[in-house]
């Protein structure tokens, strides 16, 4: 599914300032707030749902080549985190909803576990 569509359907906002192009897609997602679990579980180009918002999530996402991180419950990444995400080409999205709700919606629109 196109990231654009996911962004619209889940009403996400982007912290980073990257253009979401037509080739930005994801069909898999992973949810955890433990970084090592993400390292194990999140596949290539998937979406990661977490309420962590510190700089290290970008390092993890970059190493795993994830498409985007959805930061939940209004957690705010700081400037340095956003800057690093822009550098690495990782899209940081935000929502007020909880991990569980975001995952439910992602499942509903057709994404599956990575």
């Amino acid at each position: 599914m196109k990231l654009n569509e996911i962004t619209q359907k889940l009403n996400l906002h982007q912290f980073t300032n990257q253009e979401i192009g037509s080739d930005d897609e994801a069909s898999l997602a992973y949810c955890s707030d433990m970084l090592s679990c993400v390292m194990t579980g999140a596949g290539h180009h998937s979406i990661w749902v977490t309420l962590q918002a510190h700089q290290n999530i970008v390092a993890v996402a970059a190493l795993l080549e994830l498409t985007a991180i959805i930061i939940t419950e209004n957690a705010l990444p700081d400037e340095a985190t956003i800057h690093k995400a822009n550098q690495e080409g990782i899209k940081l999205m935000g929502t007020s909803e909880k991990n569980f709700e975001v995952c439910g919606k992602l499942w509903e629109i057709g994404l599956r576990s990575s």
Partner: protein, 331 residues
């Protein structure tokens, strides 16, 4: 410079625009301007100018009086003159004396801005003593930028080519490349930086994405262990050989009390504070085991911990041509 509203910009285009803009600040006007220019004097006749423009195939020329720039004459001025059938008049009757100039040591972006704000086709370029040293047109800028872009692209190609052929080009009994990184304790901000450098180096050397990813994950966990647990930080040492990658982390304490227990998924000694950041899931060593072919942990409470991870490369994954880079008859 770019109309963003009307043309949706893809990431690829955006990258190029940034690159070109960067170059426009980097390139100096005197690197792209035309130096060898035809000049005219105020007393020359317009007929002379018409012949000059036709012969040299140019559409404008600066007007110099005793070496001083006093005006500029463009093809539009010549057309005005032709319409008035006034070819025997002097240049100073038709030249434009409202001069817009640029300085030779200014970046190209200054000339671009000037072109955007003024309807002129060429700009005289002056040195620090206000002497004319050249002419710059939009065409000069386009050519200069294109040349520079091509050069940079070729240099990156050469860099990747050189890196990926490192192991083929160098012949020795045993060739290896060693990368070292110093890791500071509790430096969460830079957590993962060394790992991403290592991953990038492997990609440049021509490793398959799978191998680079496995190395990246394993070394990330080890790097975070140094940041989270080590007393004084530590060292990451990666040795890349054609047929294997050896990754080591070395610290001087506090050491792992029970290595078997530490290996168990879910076991962690991380502090509450570190756990809140999402570390300390107790999956680090388990993740490493999954990613590497061999893991050796040597730890004691006196000396600290030494982690040695190895990934063996299959024939088709190995760096360089694994037969060509070793001396005959050696192991």
């Amino acid at each position: 410079m770019t109309d963003i509203k009307n043309h949706p910009i893809t990431d690829a285009v955006a990258e190029n625009i940034t690159k070109v803009e960067e170059l426009a600040y980097e390139l100096l006007i005197n690197q792209v301007m035309t130096r060898d220019i035809a000049t005219i004097s105020p007393a020359d006749t317009m007929e002379f100018v018409a012949n000059l423009f036709r012969e040299k195939r140019i559409s404008g020329a600066p007007v110099l009086n005793d070496g001083e720039l006093v005006g500029i004459l463009s093809i539009e001025d010549l057309i005005r003159c032709l319409r008035a059938v006034d070819l025997f008049s002097a240049v100073n009757k038709y030249m434009s004396t409202q001069l817009i100039t640029v300085k030779e040591f200014d970046p190209v972006i200054e000339a671009l801005k000037t072109f955007v704000h003024n309807r002129v086709g060429r700009l005289p370029v002056l040195d620090e003593h206000n002497k004319l040293v050249g002419i710059i047109t939009k065409g000069d800028i386009t050519r200069g930028l294109l040349k520079k872009l091509t050069n940079e692209f070729q240099q990156e190609e050469i860099r990747v080519y050189r890196a990926s052929h490192l192991f083929e080009d160098i012949i020795s009994t045993r060739t290896s490349l060693v990368l070292r990184y110093n890791i500071k304790p509790r430096d969460f901000i830079h957590g993962g930086t060394a790992s991403s450098y290592i991953k990038r180096a492997l990609m440049r050397l021509g490793a398959s994405p799978q191998i680079a990813r496995r190395c990246g994950i394993a070394i990330y966990e080890a790097e975070m262990n140094l940041i989270i647990h080590s007393r004084n930080g530590g060292i990451i040492r990666v040795e890349i050989e054609p047929h294997q990658i050896t990754m080591e982390t070395i610290d001087d304490g506090p050491g792992i009390q029970d290595v078997d227990l530490a290996m168990k998924p879910g076991f962690s000694t991380a502090t509450e504070q570190v756990r809140e950041m999402g570390f300390g899931a107790g999956m680090g060593l388990a993740n490493i085991t999954r990613c590497v072919d061999q893991l050796k942990i040597d730890s004691s409470l006196e000396r600290g911990t030494r982690l040695k991870m190895k990934i063996f490369l299959k024939e088709q994954e190995s760096f360089g041509d694994s037969r060509g880079n070793r001396l005959e008859g050696t192991p």
